[in-house]
Amino acid sequence: MTSEHDRLEAARTQELPWKKWGPYLSERQWGTVREDYSEGGDAWNYFSHDQARSRAYRWGEDGLAGISDDQQRLCFALALWNGKDAILKERLFGLTNNESNHGEDVKEYYFYLDSTPTHSYLKYLYKYPQAAFPYADLVETSRRRSRNEFEYELLDTGVFDENRYFDCVVEYAKQTPEDILIQITIHNRGPEAAELHVLPTLWFRNQWSWHAASGRPILRQVPGLPGQSVVQAVDPKLGERYLYCLADVPLLFTENETNTQRIFGVANRTPYVKDGINNCVVLGEAAAINPQQTGTKAAAHYRLIVGPGQSETIQLRLSDMAPAALASGNGRAGAPLGGQFEEVLELRRNEADDFYKAITPGTLSADEANVMRQALAGMLWTKQFYHYDVDKWLEERGCDPFKATRKAAPRNDHWHHMYNGDVISMPDKWEYPWYAAWDLAFHVLPLTLVDPDFGKQQLKLMLRERYIHPNGQIPAYEWNFGDVNPPVHAWATIFTYRLDKARQGEGDKEWLKSCFQKLLLNFTWWVNRKDRSGRNVFEGGFLGLDNIGVFDRSAPLPTGGYLEQADGTAWMALYCQNMLEIAIELAMTEPDYADMSLKFTEHFLWIASAMGHMSGDTGMWDEEDGFYYDVLRLPDGGAQRLKVRSMVGLLPLCAATTFEGDRLAKYPEIGERFRRFLDARPELRTAIHDPLKNGVAGRRLASILDETKLRRVLAKLLDEREFLSDFGIRSLSRYHADHPYVIQASGQEYRVAYLPAESDTGMFGGNSNWRGPIWMPVNLLVMRALLQYYSYYGDAFTVECPTGSGRQMNLYQVAEEIGRRLSNIFLQDGAGRRPVFGGAKKFQDDPHWRDYLLFYEYFHGDNGAGLGASHQTGWTGVIARIMHLFATLTPEAALSGSKTAYFETEGRAAKREAVGAR
């Protein structure tokens, strides 16, 4: 076991709070729903980037390369000034949804280079131009561009020409859980010496202004050793902390309070407000900072002149150790930050290397290992303290749910039970600094590679009474908690349970049980709310796939009527399978759950067979095309399939799960009841895979698709003219490039054409596109299903891959091939190019850029270039799990051990580490 594993164990047993401090600071708090108190719910415009430096936040904080404690009482982040900008660089800049031609987009270059799961070591890189940051140019040029043009990126502005920028590397190393060493290294990549103001900033989240009873914390300068400037931070709940700054530098103090003069036009109550440090440094307003050297926001002001190609370093220490203790008990006498600073920093770096070496399969190349490590580092950096008390928020906007005189809130009006105040894995801390339920389920898959406890905690969190609605709905995301995300929570739950069981030797049944009870509520919510006709066919609206349909699936249809959704129904079939898996696992020790296993078996059969049988000849399966489609039910009783070949039609393939034949042998009466059920309803078995048919090793397969349908869908999936690209499975068939799907309704033409890059419509904000690009999470589901089919059909079942190539593969090989193509998005090709960087020359060629990876939201359907949110390491981080899986699993093991094979492989590795430590 490595030192980091020891720290994880100490955190798990609550021996030491190694996870108390971490990168929990958001990268954007402005423009969020939480901070929006506008009448109409215009979050982007109500609280703008321009206001952010002057206006205190209500619900959270943001900053550059920042950290905070896990209740976000005290925050630390970096602020910079190049002497040219009109404002300090205190936070990342980006365009709002309306400003950019493809929706909101951060316009900065920053990289999550490393993190251990306890954040004992963190490394972050920010690239800051030496010339004035082109704020206005980015806004104005982007606004002029149409949806058919590329986004205007920061590199396009020319501000990085001649490498006139600083690489600002921030590293954190915890000496103890409460003692954090901070090193900031500034590299001048340009041809001339340049000055940079560096302002490491410490501040309290403002809670005192918004609560009558909240005690006010304080920052103040206190004496330190020679060559050291010290800020003392005192908070009634957090206690005392000290920020030690190496060198005798000026400390600037102000208050983290709104500049009401600037924001509301009313005189300030105090001259020291949130933008005081900004105004002092940039505008030279000395009166903007408190000469008493006290406040709630403070910064050390370093001025560095860095030579061309040179670097300068700043060292700080955020600690619970008082100056006297630091001077006497920690290191060599007279060393301002304690004598062990460099040693501890180097030790934590090495321990991070050891940790990643332990979890990275030895068969991966150096480049592959780098991709995996940065993906996981990104996942860990994307943890954020998320605070939102919806009841309070509603009350503060005059929408108190328990007052008769209330007015309706523009959103989340019925979610007043919610109180969120936790560290949560975000999709992207700038573009999506709020949790999304189905994203989170995918996040857990890679996160459990490094921190299984965090994965378990996250899954359970979403099911707590402070999150899940009393009616059983899992919150979708803050823009509309009542929206509907695909139900993948149960899948992530059984995955995480099995992983934990293999590692620990026994499963955490109590955790599984408690999740199962809440998931039952959620399953029932789905059945009651999204099956309009009671015939086991489901709707659900956009279901996470935004613009994939010919109509906006979350809005009333222009034709009238409603949609029976192939994806909605397939998701529910998969949900049944996952609940069945959990019920069977629990039934092994608790007989009460045996009955639930039968319930979910039967429910699966109802749903699966409904996909084939519904309403005679207008079911979702199209025999002519060999594909599944949504069915449009019209008000006059007519029906038609909407023949768009998309991920919607591939999802039925994903609803496949194998079961060991003997799992329920100890409950013969359950088997008997199941047989009676099938005997009484023979029609259920005719349109789907026969659940009684044995496969390899006596396994059973729950699948909507029988072998014939499976082969027909796979022929399209693996056809490079349709779904299979060089970089994974496309969300829409390339067939529609030449054959757009067109339908007329209410005098208007609606069409879907293959669009491999950004969206050309404003549907769903226009910043995502499911009409062609490659999306990592659904690719993962396809691969999962292929491995399930493989463990049932075995080596004898082969298909041509790619279709028309003449090359036969079994389904394990097909899954592996898709994994290989997905990995190739990030890996250097023979020419040293990484497809993810597309045509960005700087990223492709420059040694200071080319190995710093970005894990985008989705990828170009033909060339693999990254698109959408640039730091959605969130679910794109599943690439780490994919690489790990195919580097450790073998087809033989998959066949002999079925679904537990992979977990046992990982469990064995964990045990080897433990033995090695002894």
């Binding site: 108190y37 209500r58 036009g265 005059g398 005189t405």
Partner: protein, 69 residues
């Protein structure tokens, strides 16, 4: 018994005069200055037809140490 209608406490800014305005539970409007113990220094405010009051988020009410919430 007559029901006495209570108004929602609300905060506003009057940008033309650069002042905070508070509406109390009885529906009266008050000017509150930007000082400590602002409520103790309130003065009556009488909106007229063209008064343009911009709503301020409810959490700012704690700034004024109002005797009601």
């Amino acid at each position: 018994m007559l029901a006495v209608r209570k108004h929602e406490v609300a905060l506003f800014v009057d940008r033309s005069t650069r002042q905070w305005i508070v509406r109390d539970p009885e529906g009266n409007f008050w000017i509150v200055p930007s000082v400590e113990n602002a409520w103790d220094h309130r003065e009556p405010f009488h909106p007229v037809e063209d008064t343009d009051l911009e709503p301020i988020p409810g959490h700012y009410k704690y700034l004024f140490r109002l005797p009601f919430y």
